[in-house]
């Protein structure tokens, strides 16, 4: 309960995965990622096994696949890059698998590289999203703290989580104000004013940072968040 309600990545639930201590989940995620990255690309069976394990965890956590699927769009730039690789890479050329009639040839090492990129990236993103979906941001911070991550980094992440919504809503209001005055922030013609708005947002956030710090000092902050 608490901090993460309504947080974009968190899916509320009470499964064993949700209840598992955050630091164990972080360790499991890091271990899983290392394993995935270290597996040779040609061990196709191993990747199927990883996907099965991950699928099992997601099933136990009862997070709907569609929920994770929608959030996997962050991977799109990598996917595009991966799809490009077979076409531009060097080495022996082969017909496009299954689409030989098109007469397009692609680089075979490129194909393997693309597969590696795609499968490792997808497993990584899916695993991270699963962690985010089953762990409240606040618990995640406590978990990182338990793993002896430097206090300063934990504090910075905490502030990021807290102020993300404040800053994005501020940006939203700035964009609304731009639109109300006839500018379309999406059109390249108005990118210069969008850039200035982002600059202003940076300055505002910076100044807010100073005010937050003042408010913290006023309540006796000495450089460590009390526990």
């Amino acid at each position: 309960m608490g901090a993460g309600h309504g947080h974009l990545l968190h899916y509320h639930g009470h499964s064993p995965v949700h209840r598992c201590p955050a630091h164990l989940k972080v360790l499991a995620l890091v271990g899983f990622m290392l394993l995935v990255v270290a597996t040779p690309r040609e061990w196709y069976g191993a990747f199927a096994a990883y996907l099965l394990v991950l699928g099992g965890v997601i099933a136990v956590a009862q997070v709907p696949p569609g929920y994770l699927g929608r959030r996997m769009v962050v991977e799109v730039p990598f996917v595009l890059f991966a799809l490009l690789v077979p076409f531009v890479a060097t080495g022996p050329r082969v017909d496009l698998p299954g689409l030989a009639w098109l007469g397009v040839t692609v680089s075979q090492p490129g194909l393997i590289a693309a597969w590696g990129l795609l499968v490792k990236g997808t497993l990584g993103v899916l695993a991270s999203l699963t962690l985010a979906a089953t762990t409240e941001p606040d618990d995640l911070l406590r978990g990182l703290e338990r793993l002896r991550l430097p206090d300063l980094l934990v504090q910075i992440m905490g502030f990021m989580i807290r102020y993300l919504s404040v800053v994005t809503s501020e940006l939203g209001r700035m964009l609304t104000a731009m639109r109300s005055r006839g500018a379309d922030p999406r059109s390249p013609r108005h990118w210069p004013s969008l850039a200035r708005a982002l600059g202003a947002l940076f300055i505002r956030s910076y100044e807010r940072g100073e005010r937050v710090h003042l408010a913290m000092l006023s309540r006796g902050y000495t450089g460590r968040l009390p526990r």
Partner: protein, 251 residues
């Protein structure tokens, strides 16, 4: 007379860029008083407030709180004694839940365990936000966030409460609720505002700060009724508001 809770003498301050904001401010606030600090934008109100708990240190003159001078050695105790509620509650509430935020100050003072929980509960009860303890601050309404911001400071059991523009951005109902809360507190209050009716409603005494000096100090009704003074310092009453025609004040 007893030692004033707040004793500011000849306070002058210039910012590092050379802009001088305060030119010898004298201000005394005694225990149990509720004083409004009035002044137009840019009068130096915020600069003065930041001196009260040692965020800024005087260029000349002195500030003391219940006899304890504000200096680098005492800054910890001073910040316990002087509780500042800043204008934007989003600046003051930075942790995951209301409870954590209210606990932040007392924890910095070394409180733990049951004593801490008791402090938090009592501070939240004073502002009527007890049932929101486990909510994240950004899910509350603006008026609720301002009340929680007040609780974060009350939890430190300050000797003087400094409210920076407490009524700004509040709807009339939240404004009245906050007034009721402030009136119910048994603590000395310095309220920085240019909401003149609010000053009249809550503070028997008013101090006018203009261009870095105190230009008036007296009963709020007299200060607000002094038209030449008000006009000279860009203080304007809202349309139709006549302080002399308000009979009894609440509380």
């Amino acid at each position: 007379m007893s030692t004033p809770v707040l004793d500011v003498r000849g306070l002058a301050y210039a910012y590092p860029d050379g802009h001088q904001a305060l030119f010898g401010v004298n201000l005394h606030v005694h225990r149990g008083e509720r004083v409004a600090l009035l002044g137009p934008n840019g009068a130096g109100k915020t600069t003065l407030v930041l001196h009260l708990n040692g965020i800024l240190m005087p260029g000349a003159g002195s500030v003391s709180v219940s006899g304890l001078p504000v200096d680098a050695d005492n800054v910890r105790e001073i910040r316990r004694r002087v509780g500042i509620v800043f204008q934007d509650p989003d600046d003051q509430l930075f942790l995951g839940t209301v409870r954590q935020d209210v606990a932040f100050g007392p924890q910095n003072l070394g409180l733990r365990g049951a004593a801490l929980e008791q402090r938090v509960a009592s501070a939240l009860a004073q502002v009527g936000m007890a049932e929101y303890a486990d909510r994240p601050p950004h899910h509350l309404s603006f008026g609720q966030r301002r009340r929680v911001a007040l609780a974060t400071v009350l939890a430190m059991e300050p000797e003087i409460l400094v409210l920076d523009e407490p009524s700004s951005n509040l709807d009339p109902a939240s404004r009245r609720e906050l007034a009721d809360i402030v009136r119910g507190l048994e603590v000395t209050v310095l309220m920085v505002t240019h909401d003149l009716p609010y000053a009249l409603e809550l503070c028997p005494r008013s101090v006018v700060l203009s261009d870095g000096v105190v230009v008036a100090d007296g009963p709020t009704r007299e200060v607000l009724g002094n038209e030449p003074l008000m006009a000279a310092h860009r203080l304007e009453l809202p349309f139709g508001f006549d302080p002399t025609r308000i009979g009894s004040l609440p509380g």
